[in-house]
């Protein structure tokens, strides 16, 4: 009765199609983040950051392992091209992505498993450096029976022999290797595969990956190199505990990362000696990572730029080095050094000189068919060679000779090899899983298909300036220089779990929907429904675009 005498409105407005008011409708388009675009390994950084922010280190490790089998290594030695792209710099400071990756590898427990349980074929990988390890890892995951042949007594290549303990503790490398071995990868160490044997391997195995690295130092070819006390830094690094009679002065020639490491190892081995690092580049332009160079200087290594060695002086034993002033330009395209000699000389006394001016591959290991113009001939992206089922990975074909580029190269070679065995075109397949516009590809996308647009990068969303409070990163502590030089103890402390979580919480997760619910809560028309992650009910969406304006991750697009 009461319903008749006063207006009693019980019908729901939900039957009214107010979505007809507007023609713009939002959609959820996940994209890659700028940091992802910068990562040669194609690491899904927003994804693993989100997991760390929730304290899920195991899941974060699993995520990282989709694209990079060496998170513990990269978390320490990578030159972090991801960080310079970080959108958060528009608000305060960049995410310490490398430090978080390190924390993930420290605190996460995860053993990767094969995607394909049945054995697809037998593959040989020559070389157990980062490129070889990467190729082996991905091939094993894809279901191949992989055997890695390593000429040195232990595995790891540059990771073990080239990067000292204070930057990359051996236990970290061991942990990475355990993971790879858990996939059934077999390692044969002290097994050099000479180029003649490669022909045999070509027939014995269904596929071949050449990951021989750049294991020989570039020769200086300067008068007096034959004096005692003149050594090449790379070889010296391989066995740094070979005790010499302690020199008074040690000079390292070169300005790259290897040179820096050589200098810092010398600093530790010879605490009384003066250690100098001399390179033709100007001091601010050494090719080494600035972080390492600074640490070296803190440890007492003196750095001199703008000089190149002209002659080694001494009678049987090295006594001094004559340096000439020089100007150097590095051709970014070819990597070649172009040195211009200037007027002026200095004389540096030294009993030990360690030359580290770059590395080249050991061509004695490579069959002639694969060499052209003095270089290993392979497609820099797919690693394809003139041999059908033989692919190259790592420094010999990479423009940038870094660990993460090697990992990326190994991954691509692995996938390309797989394509060649299944009759697919490596270039086509890689194109579909390319992350960003560089060389990086996503193994995960290869296996599960893409859910996000790998070719679209999420720009910085201005609204983030308003949504997030300023909170710069916490930078992990380093040991004091005087403490450092007394041992090979790891110089940088990593994040504690709590610190890693806190840092990961700073991540905007650009391009990835982390279900923050902002769009859901702030839709005036309740047109966004929780789904996977969300769905737009076009019956009610008036096209106001608030969701698109408020998403700090640029996930929502209006069409």
């Amino acid at each position: 009765m009461l319903d008749d005498i006063i207006p009693v409105s019980k019908d729901t407005t939900a039957k009214l199609k107010v979505g007809q008011w507007g023609f713009k409708k939002p959609s959820y388009v996940e994209k890659i983040s700028p940091c992802m675009e910068g990562c040669p390994a194609g690491n899904d950084i927003p994804e693993f950051m989100n997991l760390v922010a929730q304290g899920l280190f195991d899941e974060a490790l699993r995520e990282v392992l989709w694209e990079n089998p060496l998170p513990g290594v990269c978390g320490r030695v990578c030159f972090y091209p991801c960080q310079s792209n970080c959108n958060r710099t528009n608000l305060d400071t960049e995410l310490q992505i490398r430090e978080v990756e390190r924390a993930v590898s420290e605190y996460g427990q995860w053993m990767p498993s094969k995607e394909k349980k049945e054995v697809r074929g037998k593959i040989a990988v020559i070389g157990s450096g980062p490129a070889g390890l990467s190729a082996a890892y991905f091939l094993a995951r894809m279901g191949y029976k992989v055997t890695v042949f390593e000429r040195y007594p232990e595995t790891g290549g540059i990771l073990r022999y080239g990067i000292p303990e204070y930057r990359l503790p051996k236990r970290v490398l061991r942990k990475e290797l355990r993971r790879i071995k858990a996939l059934g990868v077999k390692f044969h160490t002290s097994f050099e595969v000479r180029k003649e044997e490669i022909y045999r391997f070509k027939d014995m195995f269904d596929g071949l990956i050449l990951a021989i690295g750049v294991s020989l130092p570039r020769r200086l070819n300067v008068k007096g190199e034959d004096l005692e006390g003149v050594k090449y830094g790379l070889f010296w690094l391989f066995n740094p505990f070979r005790k010499e009679v302690a020199p008074e002065r040690v000079v390292v020639i070169g300005g790259g990362d290897v040179a820096v490491d050589v200098a810092r190892v010398a600093r530790r081995l010879y605490p009384e000696a003066q250690v100098l690092m001399v390179a033709p580049e100007e001091e601010g332009e050494f090719p080494a990572q600035p972080e390492g160079l600074q640490e070296a200087q803190e440890e007492g290594v003196k750095v001199i730029g703008g000089f190149r060695p002209l002659e080694f002086l001494g009678h049987g034993k090295l006594e001094a080095i004559r340096f000439g002033k020089a100007k150097v330009r590095r051709d970014h395209e070819t990597g070649a050094y172009l040195i211009e000699d200037l007027k002026g000389e200095i004389l540096e006394k030294a009993q030990l000189v360690l030359i580290a001016i770059g590395q080249i591959p050991d061509f004695t290991l490579i069959p002639q068919e694969l060499i052209e113009d003095g270089k290993l001939k392979a497609d820099p992206w797919t690693g394809e060679t003139v041999w059908e089922r033989c692919f190259v990975a790592g420094d010999p074909i990479n423009k940038r000779t870094t660990v993460v580029d090697a990992v990326s190269s190994g991954k691509r070679a692995a996938i390309s090899l797989h394509c060649s065995l299944t009759g697919d075109s490596p270039k086509e397949v890689l194109s579909k899983i390319r992350v960003g516009r560089g060389f990086a590809v996503s193994y995960r996308a290869f296996v599960t298909g893409n859910s996000k647009r790998l070719d679209q990068v999420a720009e910085f969303s201005e609204i983030s300036r308003l949504l997030f409070a300023e909170e710069p990163s916490h930078i992990p502590k380093k040991l004091k220089p005087q403490v450092r030089t007394k041992s090979f103890k790891e110089v940088k402390e990593g994040y504690s779990q709590k610190e890693a979580v806190k840092e990961a919480e700073r991540c905007f997760n650009c391009g990835k929907c982390i279900r923050c619910d902002l769009c859901f809560l702030l839709c005036p028309d309740l047109a966004i429904l929780k789904d996977n992650p969300y769905r737009v009910n076009e019956m009610y969406c008036k096209g106001c675009g608030i969701c698109n304006a408020i998403c700090p991750r640029s996930v929502i697009e209006l069409r």
């Binding site: 009461l2 008749d4 005498i5 006063i6 207006p7 009693v8 409105s9 019980k10």
Partner: protein
């Protein structure tokens, strides 16, 4: 139990006996003693309900309306400016179909400022859809309050129980105050639903289109008209329980009267004295009391006044530019008669001006000797 009470006190007793649950009120002369009495009882724990001491009459009515929607019995009281102030809310109450009962103590409306009895404050609200009872004396006021709750809660329309300011509100008379038990038997606790239902939630009284507005308005009108029947039933029941009944109109010696005077409220008391005197002198005069003004008892008035030659209406109010309101309404009620009596309007007692029995006698006599009737009312001022 018989007590010597003012009209305000009688009303207060009726409110207490009716077990009103919520009283929201604001003081205004001459209503204040109702408010004060109820407050006193509340502080003594003698009042079952709660008092909400609001900051304006508009708010008082607003509070009563929304509380009533939850199904509780509510009451308020006001006069003059206060009733005018709550005008918006009066429409709300009838349109919202809530059984609020309000005691109105007639007082002149400013400007100019005056405090004595004048019916214009309640009559200005005649279009608001409220049932209006005009009471003659303190006993009737008490009885009508109790009846009003019963009527309103049956028809879901609000009621005004109206008395004259000062003449009824402040004058003491002997009043028979019923027992609580008697009142409980007659007026049980409210059976109204809580209109806020969580199982089937509704938005009450939101905007309607013209067609629906038309429909609801017609419904309110029809229900207000048919409430007359309910009023009579309740009055009859009341008579059986308490021995007093009032009817919707009361005719006094109309049967052989040549002229009939129509009036309401406290003036009735004075008019009865005048009637008696004139009858003693042999004049054939009659009196008609209009108790229920809304819904206007057209049938009853026509029945009683049909065949009478001359009718006079004394209004203690004027609708400026027209005439007294009761006069207007009587004219409208009598319009359908095939033979209409001659009708003269009189305006008396505005602003509480004293009206003596002699003056009413004069009006009777004037009516008796009148042959022509003026359209304009005759303004009766105290000599």
């Amino acid at each position: 139990m018989k007590e010597l009470l003012t009209g305000n006190e009688a009303i207060a007793h009726a409110v207490r006996l009716s077990r009103v649950q919520l009283i929201a009120a604001y003081p205004i002369t001459p209503q204040t003693p109702i408010y004060e009495k109820l407050s006193q009882w509340e502080s003594e724990g003698k009042l079952g309900g709660i008092m909400v001491r609001v900051e304006s009459e508009h708010t008082a009515m607003a509070t009563c309306i929304s509380a009533s929607l939850t199904g509780v019995r509510v009451f308020t009281a006001s006069s003059s400016q206060g009733i005018a102030l709550m005008h918006e809310m009066l429409h709300f109450a009838s349109g919202g179909r809530v059984p609020v009962v309000m005691a109105c103590v007639n007082r002149a409306l400013a400007l100019p400022w005056a405090f004595g009895s004048d019916q214009i404050d309640t009559l200005s609200q005649r279009d608001t859809g409220w049932i209006q009872f005009y009471c003659e004396d303190n006993q009737e006021a008490l009885d009508t309050i109790i009846q009003a709750f019963k009527v309103s809660e049956r028809v879901y329309l609000p009621s005004m129980v109206i008395i004259d300011g000062f003449y009824t509100s402040h004058f003491m008379e002997v009043v028979d105050v019923p027992d609580q038990k008697e009142v409980d038997d007659f007026l049980p606790p409210p059976q109204m639903p809580n209109r806020f239902d969580f199982d089937d939630p509704a938005f009450l009284c939101n905007v309607v289109g013209p067609k629906d507005y038309f429909r609801f308005r017609k419904r309110t009108h029809c229900d207000l008209r048919s409430s007359l029947k309910v009023i009579k039933e309740v009055d009859s029941d009341f008579g059986e329980c308490f021995g007093r009944r009032y009817g919707v109109v009361e005719g006094i010696e109309i049967g052989d009267a040549e002229v009939v005077l129509v009036t309401s409220g406290a003036l009735m008391g004075t008019a009865r004295v005048a009637l008696q005197r004139l009858r003693e002198k042999g004049h054939k005069v009659g009196l008609l009391k209009i108790k229920v003004f809304r819904p206007f008892p057209r049938e009853e008035v026509c029945k009683l006044l049909e065949g009478k030659r001359k009718i006079g209406v004394i209004d203690r109010n004027v609708s400026p530019g027209q005439e007294g309101v009761f006069c207007q309404e009587i004219k409208a009620a009598l319009y359908p008669l095939s033979t209409r009596p001659l009708l003269q309007g009189y305006i008396a007692g505005l602003g509480g001006l004293e009206v003596y029995p002699e003056e009413i006698e004069e009006i009777f006599l004037d009516l008796l000797k009148r042959s022509s009737f003026e359209e304009e009312p005759i303004w009766k001022v105290n000599l």
